[in-house]
């Protein structure tokens, strides 16, 4: 009898060990599958967008990218106005956002008293937390009327005597338009660029900065000639990350861009972007060609942001490798 009991105990142990082994294998494969799923998601996005845009690409070919006309009634579609609008609004956002972000990062790493750094950094990061639609509703009801009354008439008056620039800032002031969208985007990408820039700035070895200060450099000279050259790759990566955000931003832009499918030289005129066009028209699109053209727009947007983001990651990876070495 006691012999039989000891066998069953061994057996129980064996079963438990086998259970462990099985649990190990199941858990390992679960995590592996989840990791594969992340890859599948990206491939799924690409495949479904390509598939959805095939009818439009068949109908219009590569002319789709260089045609301005967007005529749902006549079933003629071209993406040029939306592509240009996307690039111009993002360019404005970068022109305003990048210098401001770098300024804030210098302030946070060099100038700000220690006890204030965290609160200010958090306040800037909270800007990234505010949902995009809130920027939209605020931009439409507060910022756009304000710009229409103040900054835009001033810009028009300022540049009207200068040939070239007077086309860029031609009136009338609408309030909503490409410039307003760019400004909102600048505010929205600020926290992203600032966060990366601040991180790479604080990765600069203190010895380098102290040596420069020791030679009698001013704060600005240290930032300009020691910190920025050392962190150039990382800062560029942060800027590209912000650019990726700006290119794909949808709701805020949809509210303030004015949704006009035409190209105009003036940045004060209403325009459209790829994402705003999709957000506005997708649910009203009737007919396969219309829907497919909108999906093709989405594909173009995805390709552009993919390239920008991949470059950003590559640069930040190079920066990290150097910091690690």
């Amino acid at each position: 009898m006691p012999r039989a009991r000891s066998v069953s105990r061994e057996e129980r142990l064996a079963i438990r060990l086998r259970g462990f082994r099985l649990g190990d294998r199941v858990f390992h494969s679960l995590t592996f599958l989840a990791a594969i799923l992340v890859l599948a998601l990206l491939s799924g996005v690409i495949v479904s967008l390509v598939q959805g845009s095939l009818p439009a690409l068949h109908a219009f070919g590569l002319n789709f990218i260089v045609t301005e006309v967007w005529n749902p009634v006549g079933d003629r579609f071209g993406a040029l106005a939306a592509i240009v609008g996307t690039l111009v609004t993002s360019a404005i956002a970068m022109l305003i956002g990048v210098p401001v972000s770098i300024g804030i990062a210098i302030f946070l790493t060099e100038l700000c008293p220690m006890w204030l750094r965290r609160p200010i950094a958090i306040a800037i990061e909270l800007l990234a937390g505010i949902p995009s639609i809130i920027y939209g509703i605020w931009g439409l009801f507060v910022l756009a009327p304000f710009l229409q009354r103040t900054l835009e008439p001033w810009l028009i008056a300022l540049f009207s005597p200068i040939p070239g620039l007077n086309l860029l800032f031609a009136g009338p002031p609408f309030g909503v338009g490409v410039f307003t969208a760019g400004l909102i985007l600048a505010i929205m990408v600020l926290p992203f660029i600032t966060a990366v820039t601040r991180d790479v700035f604080s990765s600069v070895p203190p010895v380098l900065k102290e040596a420069a200060y020791g030679l009698g450099c001013t704060t600005w000279e240290v930032s300009r000639q020691v910190v920025l050259p050392y962190t150039r790759v990382g800062v560029t990566g942060g800027i590209m990350l912000g650019l990726g955000r700006a290119l794909g931003e949808t709701m805020a832009v949809t509210f303030v861009i004015g949704n006009a499918h035409r190209l105009s030289a003036s940045v004060l005129a209403p325009g459209t972007t790829i994402s705003a066009t999709i957000a506005n028209e997708f649910n009203e699109a009737v007919g396969d060609l219309y829907t497919s053209s909108l999906i093709a727009l989405g594909l173009i947007l995805f390709v552009i942001t993919f390239i920008v983001l991949a470059l950003a990651r590559y640069m930040l990876m190079r920066m990290e490798r150097r910091a690690g070495a």
């Binding site: 300024g103 306040a123 909270l126 505010i130 809130i134 605020w138 001013t218 649910n283 989405g298």
Partner: protein, 283 residues
Amino acid sequence: MAISMSRYNARRRRNRFAVALCFAATGFGLIWLVLILATLLWNGLPGLTPALFTESTPPPGSEGGLLNAIAGSLILTVLGTVIGAPIGILAGTYMAEYGRFSRLSQVVRFVNDILLSAPSIVIGLFIYEILVAPLGHFSGWAGAVSLAVLVIPVVVRTTEDMLSMVPGQMREAAAALGLPRSIIVRSITYRAAKAGIVTGVLLAVARISGETAPLLFTALNNQFWSTNLNEPMASLPAVIFQFALSPYADWQQLAWTGALIITFAVLVLNIGARILVRSRNPQ
């Protein structure tokens, strides 16, 4: 001597100018937060009545609330998190625990970073193509899945980072006791990295609770009370989008109040996540 002094003064002037610009840039960055929050309070608070939480969205020109939108947002956010967070945690676990230096992990890390910043409207189109178009109707499920796709990369990133920070000695000590790998991960490293992982989930919830673009072509919107996930479902952001752009004053009022609610919910989540990290890592 006079020359060098004038040069010194020029450098100091330039420095003072640049420093002033940095101060101005910080002011420029901070003022928007203040302005946006002030506008939301100013326009949103007058509409904050009990009816807001007890009545559904009205037709134009009559009284109503945001009950269906708030409920829809809660349902979609919870479902999106419940679907997305476990997948994200598991994938992050693979990258930090099993394949830390493998080629696959490198690829997944890169792809995940792309997904993290991919335009959310493109995710909406993707889910439309795979869930809405084949089934022929918009649905709450499609909305929840599109939000889950946005949750996954956030959670993968934070989980991997947090697990990588757990000291290897803890795993070795557990392994020396004879514990199987899966139990080491679940009861040692998960426990050590819990605060960080929860923070990642909270940040993901904060991100999706304000998302509008992916819901437009998936969950669509619904003017009435509905908890049926096979039908279009209302959500706060979609209602704000519709009502803010309408010409009716009472709809616009509801949009502002909805915007106030959503912003404060998101900010509370963000601040909560930060406090959680800080209380665990005092340094």
